[in-house]
Symmetry: C2
Subunit: 245 residues, 2 copies
DNA sequence: TAGTGGTCTAGACCACCCT
DNA sequence: GGGTGGTCTAGACCACTAA
């Protein structure tokens, strides 16, 4: 049982959860930001792994800790504040929050858009787009997997550009395009398949899906991004007093 | 990826999950919208309850089914499309989506605002507000618990009004107030305590917290809402081509 | 190769819901 | 009161990671 915690709940798993919560708060469990192994924790708190994992799942859902697939449990950092209406690039956004970002290009190919994407981009089913897949880290941690679908007619030679950098800058500097209206959708979902694999989380981990459709200043549809966020890494904030950009 | 694909996974839980997924898709499990008991399902799929619950949790996180505390598992309906920038009342919003809404008043009292709320409302810590707690259903299902904190000086006699109806209408008709700017924040979190209890979900169920600060047309802060949504019941959508109201 | 997380078994007891 | 979900035990094997 954790020191200092005098929780009166009778459920072992609650006591366990509160014990770990206290240990996290007081830094006893933040060694290297990785928690001790499940077997060690189970023994330390006098319970079984199943029960321990139940408690850890609660803390995970609450955003205090997260899992790296087959690697273990880690202490979560503060959430990144994200406004899907901002048109500043990711690097700058993170820098303004005293965080450090990096982007990795996974693939960039021409591919037929799934029906849902074609509909969002107002094209016929079966239309081909540039499909760019990337993932981003904040302070070293993988937090979001992004799939971009770009109009092939607008961005004819995009594959020859540096796709690990900011697309926003590329649009402006290479194609003289400024963003106009945006549509976006936020869905709480389970991360599975490629997003889960790329984010190193186990299949079924909870996440946030953000779908965006971007237009230029003339209203022409440019592209569509589908983002898959680790749920504990992000907080969406929008203020209408700010400019929409 | 492809619909109806035969999954080759060897893991029992994945087969289980896909089996249930197919049964849901083809209506074999939607009897009364409530699933058979866990023991019956475990037997039907030839596994134990623990493993079955693991699979059900995945489907829950994916938004296909949900739990009512101690009552069982139910098939989720389609998500309600919600735009926190819209100023139409809840009834009208649901009606436009061919859904039916109802609101229940839980309590309406004067109470000291928590520090975080006072900060959002730009008042000194310890300031009192009208605290109104309500919960809402869509097509009969409990989907959101809301805590409103209203300025006592602006809404002097609000406790005498009908608080199970639309606050938007009340503002306009009783106080001649129109909404102005909005700030809001969306956080994926675990539902615990009162929100979980009021929504009849078990402690630790995944949910979406939406915090809103509303101003009137002159920029004066009116109130703050804290909403706790069942995660599978909502999809946030915003389009800058629409008017902000 | 040792240890880890991921998964699974086959039970059990309790509090609570519904009838 | 019977059945339900919520919780828990005490093991086990496997695939993978890290050394």
């Amino acid at each position: 049982m954790a020191a200092g915690s005098t929780n009166e709940t009778t459920k072992p798993s609650s006591k366990l959860e509160h014990g770990i919560r206290a240990d996290l708060a007081e830094g006893r469990l933040a060694v290297d930001r990785r928690l001790p192994s499940e077997r060690e924790l189970a023994e330390r708190y006098g319970t079984t792994r199943i029960t321990l994992r139940e408690a850890l799942s609660h803390l995970e859902m609450d955003g205090l800790i997260y899992r790296e697939n087959r690697k273990g449990w880690f202490v979560s950092d503060r959430r990144l504040v994200y406004n899907p209406l901002w048109r500043t690039d990711f690097q700058r956004m993170t820098r303004e929050q005293q965080r450090q970002a990096s982007t990795e290009l996974i693939e960039a190919v021409s591919a037929v858009g799934p029906d849902a994407i074609c509909e969002l981009l107002e094209t016929l089913p079966g239309t081909e787009f540039w499909r760019i897949r990337r993932r981003r880290r904040v302070d070293g941690r993988l937090v979001v997997f992004v799939e971009h679908h770009l109009s092939k007619s607008v961005f004819t030679d995009i594959l020859e550009q540096d796709l690990a950098g900011s697309l926003t800058s590329l649009y402006r500097e290479r194609y003289a395009i400024e963003y106009g209206d945006v549509f976006f959708e936020i869905n709480p979902i389970a991360l599975t398949g490629m997003p889960a694999a790329e984010l190193h989380c186990s299949d079924g981990t909870f996440g946030l899906q953000i779908v965006r459709v971007n237009r230029d200043q003339t209203g022409r549809i440019l592209d569509c991004d589908v983002e898959y966020w680790r749920h504990d890494a992000v907080s969406i904030r929008i203020d209408t007093r700010e400019s929409v950009r």
